[in-house]
């Protein structure tokens, strides 16, 4: 009988485990909130140097035109694409005028392929390379709505319009919090061009590509346009405070902020009893930084006691450094006496230990991305092992031995009872 009971209990346990395992805890659905269709602007350098014939035996301009035609053909329907040129009109020597020479060739909107191609066909290499003003213009063209924004900058030379550093321009654009990414492509770039384009890409979380062949150019631009079309959650801009008091109260979601070198930013999150707070933070290195760096995320009570922290350090080349923490708040909270269901305010402190060479500007701060989730708390662990279950040959041996001893004793007792019965 004992055996059957064991079997029955085991089978029940198995069934329960199976049922629990087969029905997923989270059958997920849901998609990002309705958004405007993504906007992309291609910014093409039409400066005099584009005449050079060093891409597959053709001129850089011809290669760019061919690539544009292919890209325009392959652009996804939902993408609103615009084209801006720089250095297309003013052939003269006046730097003042040359550095204003950027205009929108095709407005950002629903793409008419024939029109766009016709506009591109008219281009001829002409003037200066005002990258900074072109980026500002492109950012202006893409303004409005909550669409994903992307600028693809294609150039063959460095900016010729100092002192407006295009890299600073890019960082300022990114700091406006309009979620704009600038990808740069250098056509047969020299060292200075490369440095500048890498800096621009880095400042906005974009990518840099060096192009030696036409196929590479069209393939890469197509890829970047497609990336713009991929759905992505748009973060909400927030601004952390210098201390916990008066810090912005955040719910679950994705947030962005800016944090300078060595600065602390505080945020508040309300956590109800039985809930688990999950917070992750990434700080992007959007400029040249020193080789060693770190990030610290702390969850602190309003009274200043640290609950839990996440920290990470790293060295070398990186795009971002990130860490996270979780804080499950217990069901019952008797700290205040009234306890019960009152939400606890948890202060989140984000700090970093980035440093930069003296030549690097520290403002605006580096982009911070903060993810906050509030879910049900975990099932409490009452035992180190899963449900207190055991495994292994020692367990089997021990159980068998215990069973054997129990059987022997039981048998001995029955025998004793029989003999008692016989004698009585």
């Amino acid at each position: 009988m004992i055996t059957r009971k064991w079997a029955a209990a085991g089978a029940c346990g198995l069934l329960a485990a199976l049922a629990a395992g087969l029905f997923p805890a989270s059958a997920a659905a849901g998609e990002p909130a309705a958004k405007d269709s993504p906007k992309v602007e291609l910014v093409l350098d039409v400066s005099g140097s584009m005449r050079a014939t060093d891409i597959d035996g053709k001129s850089r301009m011809a290669a760019a035109k061919q690539a544009f035609n292919e890209v325009l053909d392959a652009t996804p329907e939902e993408v609103r694409l615009g084209i801006r040129t720089l250095g297309a009109d003013y052939p003269g020597d006046d730097r003042q005028l040359g550095c204003k020479d950027t205009k929108q060739l095709y407005p950002v909107g629903k793409l008419d392929r024939v029109e766009a191609k016709a506009a591109v066909a008219t281009l001829a290499p002409t003037g200066w390379t005002p990258i900074g003003p072109a980026l500002l213009g492109a950012a202006e063209d893409l303004k409005g709505g909550n669409a994903t924004r992307r600028i693809v900058l294609i150039t063959d030379g460095e900016d010729t319009c100092a002192p407006l550093d295009p890299c600073e321009v890019a960082r300022d654009i990114a700091a406006q919090g309009i979620h704009l990414v600038i990808d740069t492509l250098g056509l047969v770039p020299d060292a200075k061009t490369r440095e500048q384009l890498v800096c621009i890409a880095e400042a906005t979380g974009g990518t840099y590509t060096s192009v030696q062949h036409t196929a590479e150019l069209s393939g890469r631009v197509k890829q970047l346009v497609d990336r713009a079309a991929a759905p992505v959650v748009t973060p909400v801009a927030t601004q952390g405070a210098k201390q916990c008091q008066g810090a912005p109260k955040l719910g679950a979601g994705l947030y962005t902020d800016r944090e300078s070198f060595g600065e602390h930013r505080w945020y508040q999150v309300d956590v109800r009893p039985g809930q688990e707070l999950r917070a992750s933070v990434s700080i992007a290195a959007d400029r040249a930084v020193n080789n060693d760096y770190g990030v610290l995320l702390r969850a602190v009570t309003v009274h200043g006691r640290e609950i839990v922290r996440g920290s990470e350090a790293g060295d070398g080349r990186t795009d971002a450094i990130s860490t996270g923490l979780r804080y499950p708040k217990g069901e019952s909270d008797d700290e205040d006496g009234d306890g019960g269901t009152a939400a606890e305010t948890v202060c989140l402190q984000v700090g970093n230990s980035f440093s930069a060479p003296a030549s690097v500007k520290t403002a605006p701060g580096m982009p911070v991305e903060l993810v906050i989730d509030l879910v049900d708390g975990p099932d409490g662990a009452s035992d180190a092992a899963s449900f207190g279950l055991g495994r292994g040959w020692w367990l089997l041996g021990l159980l068998t031995l215990a069973g054997l001893v129990a059987g022997l004793v039981w048998g001995w007792i029955s025998r004793w009872r029989i003999s008692v019965w016989r004698t009585s």
Partner: protein, 279 residues
């Protein structure tokens, strides 16, 4: 003869139980399917945590990229799984490169905490004339639960970041082709612990649960999902199943058998024939 009957019943029950457990283990969601060949996966990679491309264990994700890009993929790992992430980078032609480079994969969990690689070449140097470089990272076994202060890997999304850790400035931006795949192995109950997360560590899960509750479409998995969300085939296991159930149950059966045997040894052969049955 009662003993014999009991023994038979016990043996049958044990057999049935073990067979059932075996079947359960096979059906169990934590048993991962990892085809060694690797089904073709996505052909693009994300460039940040937010835009990471979802990939499933067993799939082979490929991407065309530029040297210096930070490429992100996200894969779901469930409790009991020990994943090995492998990456291979086909480098640009040696003629156009200027110096040796070092490539690295980093794996982050759903809280963006960096996860340790227990073994494997997490970073590897490519000589100036190398054609490709191979990387691999074996993670720790994913536990169903852990204390908040622990860095143990927990079920949820895992981000894989592939990048050139050291590269000459002249070599930035050159085209590379990368391949990433993850294989999982079930470790069984050895790492099963008590306690489990209520929800896997998937970023943005709050919004997803809310949307789900709003639409009331429980169980209907949406086709359009945010980019950084993936689930294992068959959903998350919840961490309640482990082979410890089988071990413990089998131990119980053995104990019962041993008990019956012990009883039969000391009890003797039942009622002696010369003793008349009780009234």
């Amino acid at each position: 003869m009662r003993t014999v009957r009991m023994l038979t019943a016990a043996a049958l029950a044990a057999g049935g139980l073990l067979a059932g457990a075996g079947a359960a283990a096979a059906d169990s969601p934590s048993a991962s399917a990892s085809p060694s060949g690797g089904a073709a996966g996505p052909t693009e990679a994300g460039t940040a945590f937010r835009t990471a491309t979802p990939v499933k264990p067993g799939q082979r994700a490929t991407a065309e990229a530029s040297t210096g890009d930070y490429l992100y993929w996200v894969l779901p790992l469930d409790s009991g799984q020990r994943a090995t992430v492998k990456a291979s980078v086909k480098l640009p032609p040696a003629a156009s490169r200027h110096a040796a480079s070092t490539w690295r994969i980093d794996v982050y969990d759903g809280l963006r905490r960096r996860q340790a690689c227990t073994y494997g070449a997490q970073s590897a140097a490519a000589a100036k004339d190398a054609a490709s470089v191979e990387l691999s990272c074996t993670l720790r076994t994913v536990r169903p639960g852990a204390e908040p202060w622990a860095h143990d890997p927990l079920p949820g999304s895992y981000y894989v970041r592939l990048t050139a850790a050291e590269v000459a400035k002249e070599d930035l931006g050159q085209p590379v082709r990368v391949e990433v795949s993850a294989e999982t192995r079930d470790t069984g109950g050895a790492f099963a612990v008590d306690g489990a997360l209520a929800q896997p560590l998937v970023p943005g899960i709050t919004a997803r649960l809310a949307a789900e509750a709003e639409s009331g479409a429980a169980g209907s998995a949406g086709k359009d999902r945010p980019a950084a969300v993936g689930e294992p085939d068959g959903g998350w296991s919840g961490g309640r199943w482990s082979d410890r159930w089988v071990w413990t149950a089998a131990g119980g059966v053995l104990a019962a058998l041993a008990g019956v045997f012990g009883y039969s040894v000391t009890r003797g052969r039942g009622r002696p024939p010369h003793v008349p049955p009780r009234g």
